[in-house]
Structure formats: structure tokens, C-alpha cells
Symmetry: C2
Subunit: 593 residues, 2 copies
């Protein structure tokens, strides 16, 4: 059975030493109640609860899966009780609006608890996560009456939420959905249509399930400008907040999937189900994107959580497993063989995974800080900068962390050899479960186009320049720290590469409408690698002065150099791919494929 210990030491280093979270919070009235003691207590309890209660259900949940029973979906043994405990612990509302019963903690805290939860059990994590995302979209777009009725129940875990976007013929392209909404005299709507891939569309964890559904009003414009958002509860809610009659929304079936088998992925049939408009007519997609953006950072954290678990299990195996001898002579002559750890190639795999994990954790915190600034910044300038950075970095956080998290799980699985392929060791489940994070909430290709198109080309690189100012100010601060000259050198080269790629992308896009799409994925990976170099340099700066006090800091610097020397050079390969331009793909006629 796999092991897991929440990486609290590393989280504290990132939060308090790299980002100086205490100072950030002390300077912001919105976080007057937040201090290090509180956050330490939250992290300790998150670690304890998830390690003891949620993590053991990950393997059993995968083996048992979900099943349709009549009109509901039965989750695996233990999920219902664990969800109750999770809700009672206040975890669902941890980062939510205090007005609706949330605890109002910054994203810089919930990013850490999300990583722990996703590491322990991604299938379980999706049930509360979807509710939080739905509530977030509502809190910014729904009218007050709806919010007061629904949000406290979602944050308390009595009810849960879903996002109903995809239809059999419409996934990425939501402009062509067919689900329709008929206005009724009482200001409600009757929703009719079929939605697929609905995570937590039906389950037995909560008394009610609140669906946020994209649908089209009569006479709505075609395409994505004619989509509205509706709230459709499984059970109608009476005026006193009690549950009323069953609504006409039912699970048709559940999908049989590669992984996250304990998460119910449902076909949902809306047969004139009663719903209420959220936000303005025909502006549903904008409202849904509030939710999507929230989920997107979480999908990155899913990748990170999994690769942290993968690292810990691969490292434990490499320490224990005796196989072969060190090339420099037996290290454990009293035993039949040396531990796997004596072999450089085993270390290469472990260090590559770990260098990813630690950079990803830092990057998630960087994006979280920007998210907090966008929402709670003390000046409009702060908030605008936060919004711009969030817009730029969210697709990177979603796609790069999930792509590299998947690769890291595969690499960690390799450390176990044949045992990595056997179910009981849990490594293959990590690979299967993490694969979905590259696909859902907008495939990583879609994330890359969002980055290259909407976030770079549309504003002619303005967000990138804003980001590069941040990096350059870090570089300027390094001039007084000669021990970090190697970091400074690598990061400077990386920044130049990102600038070159950005300028190239802008030039290509001006000349050819296909250029953004052709360059997007390589540009996103290049951007992610440069951001990791940025994160490693930030961590190095925080570590360098303490390296005499604790080997932890010295090893931070060493792992950072490992990243710079062995992983960062991939940016040149990505740049070369971008240079080849769209003609390399478009010259082939359709019948070639």
C-alpha cells in the first residue's frame, strides 16, 4: 500500500520564507485574522485528517468504483462517512466568503490544503471541489436570494454542486450546445437536454445536488454569445430552506474510465427540470469561467499532489529495495545488494520528479498570491496587477503542472520496475488518475491556446511584460548575492528565451491566423519552464543565507541547480519547434491523416 506524508516543511518554506506570507497578510485588512499560528494549525490538521481518513480510501475507492443504483449513484465504501467528517471539519468553506458561512482564508492557504487533498484522493477531492467552484461562480453572478439559499448549504457540505457544460457533440466548442431553457411565468425556467462528463452529477454524499447548467434561451444568438447559466437543484428548495419535490434531472449512466474511478462521471438528463437564471441572459459563459478558472488552478494542484505522492513512494522504494551494486564498489557489503539509491539513474528520476514538485508548489503559491491580490488587494492597482497575472498564469498552472505531474508520476512509477505496474503498489493508479487532469476543465491544448491567444497575442504581450518585470526585479536583487550567480545566469538566459519566443509568436500571429494554435503548446511549456526557473531562483534566494544552519537549505540550492542544468535546457527545443511555424502542420491535406 502506498504511503503519504503531507510535505509541510516544504509548504512552510514556500509560504513563509519564500513568499513571506505573514507580512503579506499583516498588510491586508482582509486577512486581519490570519496569522502563522492559525495557518500552521490548519496545515497540521489538514495533514492529519487527509493522511488518516481520506488517503486510505484512495486505493479501495479505485478498486470498488461507483455504480448506478436506481436513481442514484453509490460511491465506494467509506466515502459517505469521510465526506461527512470533511464537511464537519469546515474544509469546504475554508476559502469561502464569510458572508455565506465560509472562513475567508486566502488562496495561499487553500492551495496547500488542496494539494494535500488531491494527493490523498483525487476522486474524493472532486466532490467538494465542484461545489466550491459552483458557489464561487454564483457568489459573483447570482442574485442575493439565490446565494443566501444555496451557498451556506454548499459550504457546510449539506449540499454539493456540479458544472454541466459538455454535451455529446459539444465539448471544447460550447457554442454549439443544444440544451434549452424555456422561461416560465414565475421567473423560473424549464431546462431540457443531455449533459455528459458531469463530475459528481449524482452521488450519495449529500442531501441535494446543485447543478450549474449551460443552456440556450429561445431566440438566443448562435455560438458562445447565446449561452446562459442556470441553477438546477436535484431537489427543489422550499421557502424555508427545506427540501421540496424531486426535480426532473436524473442520472442516465456513469462512464467507465481510465482512472478517478471513485468519482462519479455522469450522463445527466434534464427533462424540463426547473432552474433559475444565474447572472444575465446570454452571458453564462463569462459566469462559468469564474468557476472554470478556480478549477483550473486546482487541476494543476491535482498534478502536483499526485507527483508528490509518487515521489514519496518511489523514494521509499529506492531506499529499501536492494538491487545491484554501486559502480564505486559495494556500499552495503553485509547485504546481498545495495539499495537502488546508489545508482545515479535512479537518483536522476527521483530528482527530476522532486525538482518538478518543489517548483510546482512554489508556482502554485505564486499564482495564489496573485489570486488573493486580484480579490483582496488593498488598491485597485494591486487588484488589476493580480487580475492580469492570474489571467496570464492560470493556463500555465493548469496545463504545465498537470502535464509535468503526469510525466512525474510515470517517471516515479519507473523507479519501481515491475512492481510499478502492479496495482497493489499504487503507482499505476497515480498515473491513471493524474491523466485526467490534462484533459478536463479544458484540455491542455485549449489552455495553451488561451495563453498564446487571449493572454499574449490579444494584448500584444502586455501581461508577459508585466510578468517579466517581476522576474527582472528578482534578478536585480541577486546582484548583491554572488553565491547565486549561477541561478542569475540561468534565469537571465531563460528570460531572454521567453522574450524571443513571445516576440516570435507576435510576429507569426500578425502574419498567419494559424500561428497561435500551431505554437501554443510549445509556448506554454517554454513559459512553464521559465517560470520554474524563476521559482527556483526565488527559492534559492530564500535559502542561500540559511544554508549553513540546516542541510535543507543547501539541498534546495543543489536541487535548484539540478533543475537549471538538466531540465531548463528544454526551452531551446521548444523555441525550435515554435520557429518551424504553422506551415509544418498545415501543408498536409486532410485526407493525408
Amino acid at each position: 500500500m502506498p504511503i503519504y506524508k503531507a510535505p509541510l516543511r516544504d509548504m512552510r518554506f514556500v509560504a513563509f520564507e519564500v513568499f513571506k506570507a505573514e507580512e503579506v497578510w499583516a498588510a491586508n485588512p482582509a486577512f486581519a485574522e490570519v496569522d502563522r499560528d492559525l495557518v500552521d494549525a490548519i496545515l497540521e490538521e489538514s495533514a492529519r485528517f487527509n493522511e488518516e481518513v481520506i488517503f486510505p480510501l484512495n486505493r479501495s475507492g479505485d478498486e470498488e468504483g461507483c455504480r448506478v443504483e436506481g436513481d442514484t449513484v453509490r460511491t465506494p465504501a467509506g466515502f459517505r462517512e469521510a465526506f461527512r467528517q470533511y464537511a464537519e471539519g469546515g474544509w469546504i468553506g475554508l476559502g469561502a466568503d464569510v458572508k455565506y458561512g465560509g472562513q475567508g482564508l486566502p488562496k495561499m492557504v487553500t492551495a496547500m490544503t488542496d494539494e494535500i487533498l488531491f494527493g490523498c484522493n483525487p476522486s474524493f477531492a472532486l466532490y467538494p471541489l465542484l461545489g466550491i467552484g459552483a458557489a464561487l461562480a454564483m457568489s459573483q453572478h447570482a442574485d442575493e436570494a439565490l446565494n443566501e439559499t444555496y451557498l451556506p448549504k454548499i459550504y457546510s457540505g449539506e449540499w454539493s454542486g456540479t458544472m454541466c457544460l459538455t454535451e455529446p457533440h459539444a465539448g471544447t466548442d460550447l457554442g454549439i450546445i443544444r440544451t434549452r431553457a424555456e422561461p416560465q411565468a414565475d421567473n423560473s425556467y424549464l431546462i431540457t437536454g443531455t449533459k455528459i462528463f458531469i463530475t459528481g452529477g449524482e452521488h450519495d454524499l449529500t442531501d441535494n445536488i446543485i447543478h450549474l447548467v449551460l443552456a440556450k434561451l429561445p431566440g438566443a444568438p448562435s455560438g458562445s454569445k447565446g449561452i446562459s447559466l442556470f441553477l438546477v437543484p436535484k431537489f427543489l428548495v422550499n421557502a424555508d430552506g427545506s427540501l421540496g419535490e424531486r426535480n426532473a434531472v436524473h442520472v442516465g449512466s456513469i462512464e467507465h474510465k481510465m482512472g478517478i474511478k471513485a468519482s462519479a462521471t455522469c450522463v445527466m438528463n434534464f427533462d424540463g427540470a426547473r432552474g433559475w437564471l444565474v447572472g444575465e441572459p446570454n452571458e453564462g459563459l463569462a459566469a462559468m469561467f469564474v468557476m472554470m478558472n478556480y478549477e483550473r488552478l486546482s487541476m494543476g494542484l491535482q498534478g502536483l499532489g499526485a507527483s508528490e505522492v509518487a515521489y514519496q513512494n518511489a523514494a521509499a522504494y529506492a531506499r529499501d529495495r536492494l538491487q545491484g551494486r554501486s559502480a564505486t564498489g559495494a556500499q552495503c557489503p553485509e547485504k546481498a545488494a545495495d539499495p537502488l539509491l546508489v545508482h545515479p539513474d535512479i537518483r536522476r528520476m527521483l530528482l527530476t520528479v522532486r525538482a518538478h514538485n518543489e517548483a510546482a508548489r512554489c508556482f502554485a503559491m505564486y499564482v495564489s498570491q496573485a489570486l488573493d491580490a486580484s480579490k483582496y488587494g488593498v488598491s485597485e492597482t494591486d487588484r488589476q496587477k493580480g487580475r492580469d497575472l492570474v489571467a496570464l498564469l492560470t493556463p500555465v498552472a493548469k496545463a504545465f503542472l498537470s502535464d509535468r505531474g503526469f510525466d512525474a508520476c510515470v517517471m516515479a512509477q519507473q523507479v519501481l520496475g515491475g512492481h510499478g505496474y502492479i496495482r497493489e503498489w499504487g503507482m499505476e493508479q497515480l498515473v491513471r488518475d493524474t491523466r485526467i487532469a490534462q484533459i478536463y476543465e479544458g484540455t491542455n491544448g485549449v489552455q495553451a491556446m488561451d495563453l498564446a491567444g487571449r493572454k499574449v497575442v490579444r494584448n500584444q504581450g502586455a501581461y508577459v511584460r508585466l510578468y517579466l518585470e517581476e522576474v527582472r526585479s528578482l534578478l536585480a536583487s541577486l546582484q548583491s548575492i554572488p553565491e547565486l550567480s549561477a541561478f542569475s545566469h540561468s534565469l537571465t538566459e531563460a528570460v531572454q528565451c521567453l522574450e524571443e519566443a513571445t516576440n516570435l509568436l507576435l510576429q507569426q500571429a500578425a502574419a498567419d491566423a494559424q500561428a497561435i494554435n500551431a505554437a501554443a503548446v510549445d509556448y506554454l511549456h517554454l513559459f512553464g519552464l521559465v517560470s520554474y526557473a524563476h521559482m527556483w531562483t526565488m527559492m534559492a534566494r530564500a535559502a542561500v543565507s540559511r544554508r549553513g544552519t540546516d542541510a535543507y537549505y543547501q539541498h534546495k540550492l543543489e536541487l535548484g541547480q539540478y533543475f537549471m542544468q538538466r531540465m531548463l535546457p528544454e526551452i531551446d527545443t521548444r523555441l525550435a519547434a515554435i520557429k518551424s511555424g504553422p506551415a509544418a502542420m498545415m501543408q498536409f491535406p486532410a485526407e493525408y491523416f
Copy 2:
């Protein structure tokens, strides 16, 4: 349900236009019976049989899996009948020694039929494959009486074979196995021990199962120099060839795995089972390596077969699925959306997979030609050159084709978005099934160390120089073909990079015992990429004069350029990683991990 059509056009191009197989065979008395008509007929029948009979069992076999029933293992429905037909079709002995009932066809033919078989059903493929490998090891090491008794029955498919190496504590490190062999008065041995991960260790497809087992004789030297190889049949064989009493070898359990679920992966208990020595005492590992090397090319073909299926299904989906609009304006205005194929990023994924597949197919043929030369070459010079190239290229063929085949399956899965994650589409099974090819028959890390250590450093780069002579002679032939100057330029740079990496590896290895292991995987991937550049240039040379006759040839040249521009530049990243040297891994103390 997934689709598959054997890529016969591309196979014929590689065999007959790139490698001019007819001329090769005509010049070799061993292949006097082999001509194009025969091989065409074999390919057609292989395609028909595998597409119609073997491929449909791939999904159902995955769903049903294997199960232990008493003393045997029940394979999924349809496997038994399909195996009977496969055997009766003569496929098991296709490349086998005519003396024992085989058909003696060159590897240049069976590499193609192996790709088709592995593409259609890797679980099924393993049952005959293990028998063929076992028979091959026997034919080169066992005494004539054993061979006459066993080999014809294996080639006819009446019996099957296994390789029993791994024990619970001994995988890569076979030197520490504990299974022991006690000599008996009648020249037989009693074998006692437990073997794990035994593919096809027990099943219901054949009347007898012939195990090749590594074990230690009393007083044998410790380590890998004290290992002997034994033949242990499930049923003892009477003097007249009929089956006698049940031997004391039994399945303990089967593994629950990530994939290849229709392949029975068994724990085998040998409780004083009667066996016979194959080859010389204490030289079992050498005999087993005959089998291992045969399997290793096959594992590369497994990766290629899967990524070909993955390509075909992703391309079909991209043609059919309507989603979004071309950036240059609607291509199918009469429909709700354009096909996925209008998007450059979709094409990027398809072309990357396809550029891998076509290079891999060519490389497998290149290695097969060397294998044929090593065995049937008309002069000892030819045979020696063949052996040297096979020694050098086998680890590349195994590891690079399986690593890139896995990546290709993941990339093709991504084309299908959410549907790629759903079992019924079959893409996720390709990913799960292909993952094992990176692990078994020696992990890809072990392959890389074999390449960098035994095949490069041990002979101070002699095999690499031999290979580079081949590449340089191709480059020389291009000087008269100005249309191929871009290929020539890219390949020249690639060759320089491989030389630089090889020299660097030799220098590092002279200075540090850890250097080989530290550089190995990056060196192997660099080598593989350079070999693919070599293959693409060979294909371009064969295609260039015919490009006016058929778009097939023009597209070959274009896809080759796609590889050179977008995929080959990774060699620089790999070289940078090698440059960082072993200290980057070894500086961390064991407790760090």
C-alpha cells in the same frame, strides 16, 4: 470500438523501397525461397487474420482479464480458439529454424508481422512470443535431444514457453536469485524456488508449458557467474513425445496489473520440479540473453504497434469530430463546426505520433536487417558487422521505441479529449498496455546502461564508429541530390551531436565510475533521435525521385522535415543533461530522498 488497419503500404515502402529487401534476399542463399510475392502474401494474410480475429479480442480481453481456476489460469473468452487458429496458420514458426519445423523467414519479415500482432493485441502476442524466444535460446544452447523433443511442438503451437528469471527479491539483479537445482542420478535436476512476473506461466491455451528457469547449482559461484538455465516442462514428456506425469511446478497466483490484463502474469512455485540443464553449468545468463535480445526488439515493436493503432484512431476522430472553427474562417459552413483537423495543434499531435511511427518502423527494419546479417550473412565479415550493430542497436530499439511509443499513445489519447479517458474508445487501454514495454525485459534504464556501458564505453566507441560509418556513407550519397540538402544538413548536425555525446561519455567514464549510469538514459534518447534522423533521411532518399508520381512520396519528405525541425532539436537538451555529469545526482546524501 477502436479501429485498425495494418499499415501495409508503409511497410512495403520501408522493406522494398528503402531497404530493397528483394535484392538483399536474392543475394543470400539462406533466403533463396523468399521473394516479394511470398512476402506480400504473408503480409496480406497477417493483416487479415490479425485485424479480423486477434484485434477484436483486445478490448474484451482487457475487460475480462485472466483468472486462476484451481491449478490453471483461464484466459479470456476467444483466446483459446484464436491461439489455435494462430498456431495452425503457421505464425509461431514463421521465423524459426526449418530443421525444427519453422519456416525460416528473415527477421525483416517477422518484424512486420510482429508489429501487426502487437498492435492488434499485446496480451495475446505475449503467449506465442515467449515460446519463440525460449525456443531460440534452446536452439543455440540446448543439446540436440532436447531440441528435437521440444522445439517442433513449440513452433506448432501445441506447447508454449516461458522465461522464469525474476524472484521477489531479485529483478534487475539476477545475481542474487535463490532458486536452486539439485542434480539427480539420471542427469535431470530438481528445481525449487519461487519465480514472479512470469508471463504466460500458466494458461489454458496449450497442452504443455515449457519453462526456461534460472537457478543455482550446489556450490555455484555467487553472483551472475553462478547461474544456470534449466528446462522445466509443466508435464513431463515421455520417450515417444507424449505427455507424462504432471511436474511439480504450479501457479501460485496472478498479478493484478495496470494493463495487458489478458496476459497471465504468474507467481510460479517450483517444488522439486524436474528439469534439464540447457547449455553449460553456470552459463545460464548468456543463454538467457539470446532469448532476452530477441524479446527486446519485440518490446520495441510492441510500442510501435500500439502507437500505430493510437494514430489511426486519433486521426479518425480528428476527421470526424466537429468542434470549433478554423482560425482562417469556417471550412464547413454547412455544419455546426469544422472537423478537429482544421486546428494546427491537433495536427501537431497527429504528425508527432506519425513521424515517430514511421521512423520507428524503419529503425526496426534496420535492426532486423542487421539481425539477419548476424545470423545468415554470407561472410564472417558481414556476420560480425551484423552482430556488432545488433549489440549496439538492440537496447535503443527496445527502450526508445517503447518510451516514444508510450508517449505517442498518450499524445494520441489527448486528441480525443474526454473521450480518450473513457474505456470504450480504447485509447486509454493503449496507454495502459504500452506502459509495460518500458519496464519488462529489462527496464529502459537498464537498456540505457547496457548501451552506454557495455556497447559504448567497454569498446571505447567502436560500435558507434561502425554505425556512424553507415550514416556517413548515406550522407555521402546525398551530395548528388540537392533536393535533400535540408535532410543532409540536419543529419550532419545530428551526427556531430552524437559524436560529441559519445566522446563526452567516454571522457566522463574514464574519470568517474558513476558517469555511465548518470548519462545513460539521456544518451540513449539522444542516440534514438539521431537514429530517427538517419531513418528519415534514408526514407527521404527512397522517396525523393518518386515524389512526382504519388503524393505519398511528397508527404514522406514533408513529414521527414517535420521531424527534423520539430522533434530532432531535443538532442541539444539531452546533450546538456549529459554535460551536467554524475555529481548533479550523487552530491545528495541518501537520507535526502
